[in-house]
């Protein structure tokens, strides 16, 4: 008996006649070596069923002339079993050289052609030639198909990735939130191009290589499927999906990262206009003006129907609801002019519900705030506003009380003594230097490093003059 693992067809012979069994076995071994393996010979019906169960043969050849075998039992087993075993009933008496094939539940005589043609028709020389060439041929043909298909898949994937990378696909980013989002897009483009290539590559290859030849009316190979393969292409996408879910969650956490120092702007949407209120600066505007590199917390509400806040360059989007505040955090990181558009259908003029957005440098933003604020003409009064808005009075009292910093009462024109023992008259020039560079000279009895050192970025010259005028008024 030859190697049963590598052969294509595994045959069981059922006959109690030694001549029939041995003869057929030898015939098969001689002419179909490597292609057909005889698993064994059984001589009774019971033995046959046991062997079928254990050995799972592809084909059972039953000696039709053998009266000791119970044909009806065979037929009944054959009709009821769920396996894919084929039976050949071979008779040397009835019908001469004809044989009957029983395919499960379906009696078909022509089936014999497929199974027996090679050893009934082909001469020994031909069949030998056939077996020695057939196997490698089939294998190399399959390899050729796989190589072609994989080549096509790689070609489409490469084309897709290069195409998506070079296509104009996104607006120019202008916020910190855009960085993780654009990164997620890049990852997605690669995944999309690869999966697209995998399916279309294999499909296109099939369309090209597996066309039916003219006049060929026959069916293709009978392959019903492969559960291992199905499990594979269920599990692998599942793992990919889990990977993307984790990635997406981490990515989102970067996008929504809050900054406790964020500047607040209240956004009010109504059919079909936008209004922006700056509570810290006391400004109301129809344009959204933001300082660069500072997170802004938009507290948004609608006056009527649902609207949606979207500046493409900032990437993120949030609906505005009537009667309920929604929030959005944006950190513009590029100065420039943008357009805010409503992204939720809100009635007839939805298309025109837009507002200009300007991202300015900090100094320009302060200038804008300064220009916008409806300020008193009196510099002293203005100075008081700044002192309140920029938090000066949290540390400097106006009534001589000692807080974290020196009180402003009677400060102007007084003689100030420093920690290093030096002293100086507190005139306008001294006060300006102390605001812009607070750690240069520390007043005796106070600690260095407490006062913000970036007022040169936050305050304009005029604002500083106003504050000094205010301090002067407290003599």
């Amino acid at each position: 008996m030859s190697d049963t693992q590598s052969v294509n067809r595994r045959v069981l012979i059922a006959s109690s006649h030694p001549l029939f069994a041995r003869g057929l076995t030898r015939l098969l071994q001689e002419r179909q070596a490597g292609d057909v393996a005889v698993l064994g010979v059984v001589s009774s019906t019971a033995e046959a069923f046991q062997a079928i169960q254990q050995l799972q043969p592809d084909l059972v050849i039953v000696d039709y002339d053998d009266e000791t075998l119970n044909r009806e039992d065979f037929l009944a087993h054959f009709m009821e079993s769920s396996g894919k075993i084929r039976f050949v009933l071979l008779s040397l008496k009835e019908g001469g050289d004809q044989a009957m094939v029983y395919d499960r539940r379906n009696i078909a005589a022509s089936q014999i052609d497929e199974w027996l043609s090679e050893w009934t028709e082909a001469s020994p020389e031909e069949s030998q030639k056939h077996t020695s060439y057939a196997a490698p041929d089939v294998r190399s043909g399959k390899m050729k198909h796989w190589i072609g298909a994989i080549f096509l898949v790689l070609l489409i994937a490469a084309g897709g990735i290069v195409g998506l990378r070079n296509a104009r696909l996104l607006t120019q980013p202008a916020s910190l939130q855009a960085i993780p989002i654009d990164q997620a897009f890049s990852v997605l483009w690669i995944a999309i191009a690869s999966l697209f290539a995998l399916i279309t590559g294999l499909m296109l290859y099939s369309v090209i290589a597996f066309r039916r030849k003219k006049g060929d009316e026959s069916d293709a190979v009978h392959i019903e499927g492969n559960n291992k393969l199905e499990v594979t292409w269920t599990i692998l996408p599942l793992l990919t999906v889990i990977g993307f879910a984790v990635y997406g969650s981490l990515n989102l956490s970067e996008v929504v990262l809050p900054d406790p120092q964020a500047m607040e702007v209240r956004v009010v949407g109504q059919q079909w206009s936008w209004r922006f209120e700056y509570p810290e600066q006391g400004i109301t505007s129809n344009e959204l003006v933001l300082p660069v590199d500072r997170q802004v917390l938009l507290r948004m509400e609608s006056q009527d129907v649902i609207h949606s806040f979207w500046v493409p360059e900032f990437r993120v989007k949030q609906d505005l609801l009537p009667g309920r505040e929604t929030q959005l955090r944006i950190t513009p990181n590029r100065t420039g002019d943008f357009v805010l558009g409503c992204a939720e259908i809100c009635g007839s003029q939805h298309a025109y519900m837009t507002a200009p957005v300007h991202v300015l440098s900090s100094a320009d933003f302060e200038q804008w705030v300064f220009d916008q604020t409806d300020l008193p003409d009196d510099p002293v009064a203005r100075g008081e506003i700044w002192a309140n808005q920029y938090g000066c009075l949290a540390c400097h009292s106006l009534d001589g009380t000692r807080l974290v910093g020196p009180s402003w009462q009677g400060l102007y024109g007084s003689e100030t003594v420093f920690a290093d023992g030096a002293s100086r008259t507190a005139d306008a020039e001294y006060l300006r230097e102390s605001i812009l560079d607070p750690n240069a000279q520390i007043v005796e009895g106070f600690l260095p490093g407490l006062m913000p050192q970036n007022f040169n970025e936050i305050l304009s010259d005029t604002q500083i003059d106003d504050i000094i005028a205010f301090i002067e008024s407290l003599k």
Binding site: N106, V221, I223, W233, A343, H350
Partner: protein
């Protein structure tokens, strides 16, 4: 004139007019009695619409048999074999034959499909260039921006109705044939399910002359509360349309579970039947939710009930949850039968078994189940609780798994096949490609962070048009060509069919990719005008041209189908050499489907297994059923 009344449709329409007027009069009388102003259009159209629909259903004859049964009279309806009826009379009246109902669904569906497509062409014309082209009239009129908004709103909702009708057409016509049944389980309910779509479809369309709808197909309040009068019939029409979906689904489920031929176990059913079962399960259980949301939206508008008004203790986002709880699964209602059609067509033209039959069959059920858990991915920017976003992102991504099984199985079915490419096969292959584009453009909307960008842009528009063209339009057209010989007994014109395919395939590819690109470049959804500075003018023009190319292809199909139905070559019983039961019947299919009951003796897709068959007539005539 009197001759016209033999058509159920004519009787129904007349009754509907009378019913509507009666309803309006009723409202006015009640208002007068209450000392209110006599005319309130919202209330009048609501009650008028409901009474008009009931009157239509009576007029068309859909309630007659039930009324007879309830009052103990013998049932009168045998439209199957009423020899006096002309074909026109049969198709324009109440029938209980699933094939007639299938055709009724299909024809009405195609009419709405063409109408909704025309709306799209109109607003695509507007969008071909920046600025306003067509809608330059007074803003709040149909000639102005409200007209534009009405066009895209009705394009959406009428398309939804059209798709549901076409899906019902396929399921009604094919399921009983494929499982070897004489008809559906509940033939009268089946007729009712179809006919209620006519008055509700008319109510939906009435939104146009009544001032339009400017909310998009979603109808979000509070915008819907202040929308034009058309909103009332829009809500009402869709609400009533829902009856058809729910009742039709019950019918499909029972038919599939109880009426299969002898020997047809669940895993011996054609895959289209599996897809229909999954579809019906979604329709049956989810349709209530859109009905509910539209009913509440209508009541908020007409009766000032503050369901979605925060000032009155309501919740503005609640509507969106209810709406999407149906409307996302609805997407799977639209695509699952189409995916079933692909699975039917591929093996026939590849002459190979459907690869992994059980996996393909169960993946439909898998998609249906996962589809229930993803609705809030439409709401990532809505202002719902932020912690809900990640779980819905995960569930959404999970849809990829059963969908992937289908793609891989289709690819493996083609591999080593012996492929030929008549029109249905071209449409099936095109469907796979387009549906793939639709599926793969999904993850940018599923990932929360990228969705914050793509939400409510044309990227989403491109994405769902690809899923619906790949999952519904292309497969539906494959089905039309594939089963055309069974339907009419004649063959369509192959040349025209191929021209149609290539026009539509190329046109749609340009359209969907163009939409995605302009969306990523900043094109918002549902806007009549856009800034030329976005740099999308060329892209928009290309999308518009592509839309017209698609329209040309579809016009060719309509001509082909109508012409071939009368003058096409006579079709053989089984022109595709299919194993499916319906192709073992003569073309066209006889009135009672199967002369003899059939039994299943093999597997549905065993192409390449020599001399095996799927079904055969039971040789001993069985006792007459029913």
């Amino acid at each position: 004139m009197k001759d016209l009344f033999k058509y159920g449709l004519v009787r129904g329409l007349l009754a509907m007019v009378i019913g509507t007027l009666a309803g309006m009069a009723l409202v006015s009388v009640v208002r007068l009695a209450l000392g209110l102003s006599i005319w309130n259009p919202d209330a009048a159209w609501t009650v008028g619409g409901i009474l008009g629909t009931i009157a239509f259903m009576i007029g068309v004859g859909s309630l007659t048999d039930w009324y007879r049964a309830a009052s103990g009279k013998p049932l009168g309806m045998h439209t199957h074999d009423n020899p006096d009826w002309s074909p026109l009379q049969r198709y324009l009246g109440f029938s209980v034959d699933h094939k007639v109902i299938g055709v009724q669904y299909g024809v009405f569906g195609l009419i709405l499909f063409l109408l909704a497509g025309t709306f799209a062409l109109i607003f695509r014309w507007e969008l071909a260039a920046p600025g306003l082209q067509l809608f330059t009239g007074e803003v709040e009129s149909l000639a102005g921006l409200t007209g534009f908004n009405t066009m895209f709103s009705l394009h959406g909702m009428v398309m939804v109705a059209a798709i549901l009708l076409c899906i019902a057409a396929m399921m009604n016509y094919l399921v009983p044939l494929m499982i070897g049944a004489q008809d559906m389980a509940f033939p009268r309910l089946n007729g009712f399910s179809f006919w209620i779509t006519v008055p509700s479809g008319l109510l939906l369309l009435a939104a146009l002359p009544l001032g339009g709808v400017d909310t998009g197909w979603v109808g979000y309040p509070p915008l819907s509360t202040r929308a034009p009068l058309g909103m009332v019939t829009f809500y009402l029409g869709v609400y009533l349309f829902g009856f058809s979906g729910i009742l039709g689904a019950i019918n499909i489920i029972v038919t599939i579970l109880k009426m299969r031929a002898k020997g047809m176990g669940m895993f011996k059913m054609p895959v289209f039947v599996w897809a229909s079962l999954a579809t019906a399960l979604i329709q049956f259980a989810a349709t209530q939710l859109i009905g509910l949301s539209f009913l509440m939206g209508l009541l908020q508008r007409v009766m000032d009930m503050g369901f979605f008004d925060i000032a009155k203790g309501g919740d503005v986002i609640l509507y969106q949850h209810l709406f999407w709880f149906y409307s996302h699964p609805a997407v799977y209602v639209f695509v699952l039968p189409g995916l079933g059609v692909i699975s039917e067509v591929l093996p026939v033209f590849a002459r190979k078994p459907l690869y992994g039959y059980k996996w393909v069959a169960l993946s439909s059920v898998g998609i249906a189940l996962v589809g229930y858990l993803v609705w809030a991915h439409h709401m990532f920017t809505s202002g719902m609780q932020e912690y809900l976003r990640v779980p819905f992102m995960v569930s959404t991504l999970l849809v990829a798994v059963p969908t992937g099984v289908k793609f891989f199985s289709w690819t493996a079915t083609l591999w080593q096949g012996k492929l030929i490419f008549p029109t249905p096969m071209l449409f099936a292959l095109g469907a796979i490609m387009i549906f793939l584009v639709g599926g793969l453009s999904g993850p940018p909307n599923a990932l929360v962070s990228t969705d914050l960008y793509t939400h409510d842009t044309y990227f989403v528009v491109g994405h769902f048009h690809a899923t619906l063209f790949g999952g519904f339009v292309f497969p539906f057209m494959a089905a039309l060509y594939y089963w055309f010989p069974k339907l009419t007994g004649r063959m369509y014109n192959e040349r025209m069919g191929k021209w149609h395919f290539w026009l539509q395939f190329v046109g749609f590819s340009v359209q969907t990719l163009g939409q995605m690109q302009v969306g990523l470049l900043g094109m918002r959804r549902r806007v009549a005008d856009y800034d030329a500075a976005l740099g999308i003018t060329t892209g928009q023009l290309a999308v518009t041209i592509a839309a017209f190319v698609i329209a040309l292809g579809i016009a060719l199909m309509i001509y082909n189908l109508i012409y071939s139905a009368s003058y096409g070559e006579k079709a053989a019983a089984n022109p595709w050499r299919s194993r499916s039961p319906e192709f073992q019947l003569p073309s066209p299919v006889p009135v009672h489907n199967f002369d003899h009951p059939i039994e299943v003796v093999g597997n549905p897709y065993d192409y390449g297994l020599k001399d095996s068959i799927y079904v055969r007539p039971i040789s001993t005539p069985a006792a007459p059923g029913d």
